[in-house]
């Protein structure tokens, strides 16, 4: 089909300003929805706090280590920060729940700007959660901080970005919210388990540890351990974040190849 669409558009923002405008529009709307629906707050902030308090160092396998409670808290924070997968996917599915998908298909904004705007609020929430929990563990639970706060921030940013990219990918390849949710919970539990977020890597069986190397959780915890219990070496942190960002790039590339504004989803009906 030949659809003549002129490229010039005098009144609407274009270029970088247009890109930023698209990101801002979707991010603002998503933030309002997340803030008012509140379930994301519960899963990202409250649930890890409750589990940390209930299970504490018992699951960390490091009872004798000073700061074990703090270590367990960070594990749960890392685990539930990956709820960003679910909420990023839901951000895209939301348009099918509310029938606004047709509008996106007509407007066809920059795919990158659209995706960034959609996932930014969930990403920001997960990032803030990681920082808050780490800060809490450092101040109240005896978690040492041998490295730099920037190392924790960099690791956290890389981790939640990888979760968002995975959420985008799961949205792009699934047909319904139920499928996306099931897959994202599967990811949340298995990545956390083999990545050392629930039980410390040292306490895991060998095969499980091997699987863990393929998860962003393992690398995030490696970097976070270096910044807290370790020697705070930047080389370890940067190596770990590079692996996480590679995972992110693979997911984002696959998602953008599979994504089409016109793709139908079962949730439409």
């Amino acid at each position: 089909m030949n659809q003549d669409i002129a490229s010039s558009d005098a009144s609407a923002p274009s270029g970088v300003a247009g890109f930023v405008n698209v990101v801002r529009c979707y991010a603002l709307t998503e933030w309002r929805v997340l803030a008012r629906e509140r379930t994301a707050m519960v899963f990202i902030f409250i649930l890890p706090a409750v589990l940390s308090a209930i299970l504490g160092p018992a699951v960390s396998g490091l009872d004798a280590v000073p700061g074990a409670m703090g270590r367990a808290t960070i594990g749960f924070a890392v685990m539930f920060s990956y709820m960003v997968v679910t909420y990023s996917g839901h951000a895209f599915y939301r348009d099918f729940w509310y029938h606004t998908d047709g509008r996106q298909a007509l407007i066809r904004p920059s795919r990158l700007a659209f995706a960034m705007g959609k996932v930014l609020p969930a990403c920001a929430m997960s990032f803030v959660q990681l920082l808050l929990f780490t800060g809490f563990a450092a101040v109240f639970l005896g978690l040492p901080l041998n490295g730099d706060v920037l190392q924790i921030a960099l690791t956290g940013a890389a981790l939640v970005t990888s979760g968002s990219a995975l959420g985008f990918l799961l949205f792009a390849i699934t047909r319904s919210t139920a499928t996306l949710s099931n897959l994202s919970y599967l990811v949340l539990v298995t990545f956390s388990a083999v990545g050392g977020a629930i039980v410390a890597t040292e306490a895991l069986p060998g095969w499980s540890r091997t699987l863990g190397y393929a998860t962003p959780h393992y690398w995030a915890l490696r970097a976070l351990n270096e910044a807290t219990f370790g020697q705070g070496r930047w080389s370890v942190v940067l190596q770990s974040t590079a692996v996480i960002l590679t995972f992110t790039a693979v997911c984002a590339t696959a998602a953008s190849l599979a994504f089409d504004f016109r793709n139908p989803k079962h949730d439409t009906t």
Binding site: M1, N2, Q3, D4, I5, A6, S7, S8, D9, S11, A12, P13, A17, G18, N21, V22, R24, C25, Y26, L28, T29, R32, V33, R36, E37, R94, Y98, H99, T100, G102, R103, A105, L106, I107, R108, P109, D260, F261, R262, N263, P264
Partner: protein, 302 residues
Amino acid sequence: MGTAHGTVLLSAERLSFAFTPGTPVLRDVSLHLKGGTSVGLLGANGAGKTTLLGALTGTLRGTTGGSVRLDVGGLPARRAIGFATQAIALYPVLTVEENVGHLARLLLGRGEAKAAIERTLEEFALGPIARTRVHHLSGGQRRLVHLAASFVHAPPIRLLDEPTVALDFEARQLVVRRVRAWREEGAAVLVTAHYPEDIEELSTELVLLRDGKTRDLGALGTVLSSQARTLSLRGARPVSPPADASWELTLATSSLEEVRSKLGEVPSDVHLSELRLSGNRLRDILLRDPSLSAFARESEGP
């Protein structure tokens, strides 16, 4: 809006569309939307009206053929076309203003958005509920917000799929007034509706969609003038054989002058003189103007 009346703003030529290859929904569609006109799209349920709107806007995934061209002074499709889908497309936890504002900022940028939001809320009389969340609104109010959001960027081409669903009389009249105003401003409007009465009020031109093909029926006035007036005589009591508590005789006629001669063609089982003799009395006489309903029934077929 700055478009000339009578200029073709959107033209579709030999447009075809299939969700799955080999089973086309649209076969050979040609359609021209001119500034200052409003095309009513008639068609039975499942005829492909919604699919046609999707194919025109390029929002459906499937196999397409033919062409859709826009002549809107260089505006990109997203700015040139406003599409109010049949399903209400709003974020329920956002307010009316936030829903309209989301699209205004997205399509116009922050600079123009504020004025556009204010204008649109006023046009659709949404000021009093501007800060109400959509999930608190009635179905009719949501429909109005949906229309407002769809056209907040004042596009020269406006597509409306079943815009009057769930609207009460007042809201429906508001939509009719808006469509007429858009037409006067030079917009090209394409509208579908469940009821021919709605098409009659919202359109100036008619197109019939049947078997995946369009047929240009021309101006609404021409179509209506080709239809006969209907004369109904209703009696107070049944006539022979007595069946119901009343009877009705319908004659097709094109003018009042023909009534007398038409009365001479009354079917033999109903005799007006007999009615008079048996003491029956005429309860009412109704002369109906031609309407699109009868035409649609005939045209759309089973």
